[in-house]
């Protein structure tokens, strides 16, 4: 089937930019074999690209991009510094995050971490057997006596101060 130049010319630019599908490519190349006008149009495009590409590439090579970047960095540094409160607010502001889908893995991570930490935090400490109450007792100055009653549930730690150490301060 012969394709008209008007329908192919729409595809020609895409073909030139290598943006056509495989089917379109076969179609365009088939038409180009038979159509001189379209071949010329394609050649014109190639020439135009060459005309633009060469001077642009030369200009790019001459241009000192590090200098441009340095200039941008200097401009950034010269910008007004944010106060600590503005900085904090920008950090706390989560609205940019909500626009992205990153909150999904973040929320999932949060849930997992909550479950893990909840198990650790809410893990009940075991009941301690109602055994001896006094773990240790010491006095470098006097004797100490400990006695323990079960009815009533009372433990007494008594410091025997000698009369010579009698104090009047409390």
């Amino acid at each position: 089937m012969k394709n008209s130049c008007s329908s192919i010319s729409k595809l020609l630019e895409k073909y030139f930019d290598r943006e056509v599908t495989e089917k379109e490519r076969v179609l365009v190349e088939g038409h180009l074999q038979d159509c001189l006008a379209c071949r010329n149009a394609l050649r014109s495009m190639e020439e135009l690209r060459t005309l633009i590409k060469v001077p642009v590439e030369e200009a790019v090579q001459k241009e000192e991009f590090p200098w441009v970047w340095q200039k941008i960095e200097r401009e950034i540094r010269l910008q007004k510094k944010l106060t600590w409160w503005q900085t904090l607010r920008s950090w706390i502001d989560v609205s940019p995050l909500l626009k992205r889908k990153v909150w999904i893995p973040a929320a999932a991570t949060l849930v997992v971490l909550l479950l893990i930490s909840a198990q650790i935090i809410f893990q009940k400490t075991p009941s301690y057997p109602d055994a001896s109450v006094v773990e240790y007792v010491e006095s470098q100055t006097d004797n100490v006596m400990v006695y323990q009653l079960e009815k009533p549930k009372v433990t007494v730690i008594w410091l025997f101060e000698g009369p010579e150490k009698e104090q009047t301060t409390l």
């Binding site: 930490s117 007792v137 007494v156």
Partner: protein
């Protein structure tokens, strides 16, 4: 340039999420830990002596107990406080002059028991150092330091 900028933006987002999550967990974990590692202990400071027959009206609930344990005739309440003890945070209960104090530190906490380290210090000298397990429903008396004609008794009750 454009590619570099995009990469930095993504890194920044990831860094912000990581930092926000870290900050959240630090606050969350420590606030919970602090909230749960607390215990309320009631402490009464009693002055017991054989001078007179005075029983402080606010000690009537323990008068019988005191009478069965000690042989004093007079009991006066000097202080009655509820202490909110946090782990490893010592609290000092001073006497009237401030020269003597009992320092209580929560060193461990179980469901039915709090481990307390108690130090009695008078004029810079530690006269008693002990560690007790304060069970719910049990009273611990620490007594003996002399004061005037009597002695001081610290009574501790666990409110948990």
């Amino acid at each position: 340039m454009a590619i570099r900028g995009t990469g930095e933006g993504t890194d920044d987002i990831v860094k912000r999420i990581a930092l926000l999550l870290t900050a959240f967990f630090i606050v969350f974990f420590f606030s919970l830990q602090t909230a749960f590692a607390q215990v309320q202990v009631r402490m009464r400071v009693i002055l017991a002596s054989n001078a007179g027959q005075e029983i402080d009206p606010s000690l009537r609930d323990v008068h019988k107990e005191l009478g069965s344990l000690f042989s004093f005739t007079s009991y006066r309440l000097i202080r009655d406080e509820s202490l909110n003890l946090s782990l490893n945070q010592p609290i000092r209960i001073t006497g009237r002059t401030g020269k003597a104090f009992l320092e209580a530190t929560l060193v461990g906490l179980h469901r039915n028991m709090a481990e307390l380290r108690l130090r009695v210090v008078r004029e810079g000298t530690e006269i008693l150092n002990t560690q007790v397990r304060l069970f719910a429903g049990r009273t611990v008396f620490v007594g003996g330091p002399r004061y005037g004609e009597g002695v001081v008794i610290y009574a501790l009750y666990g409110n948990f």
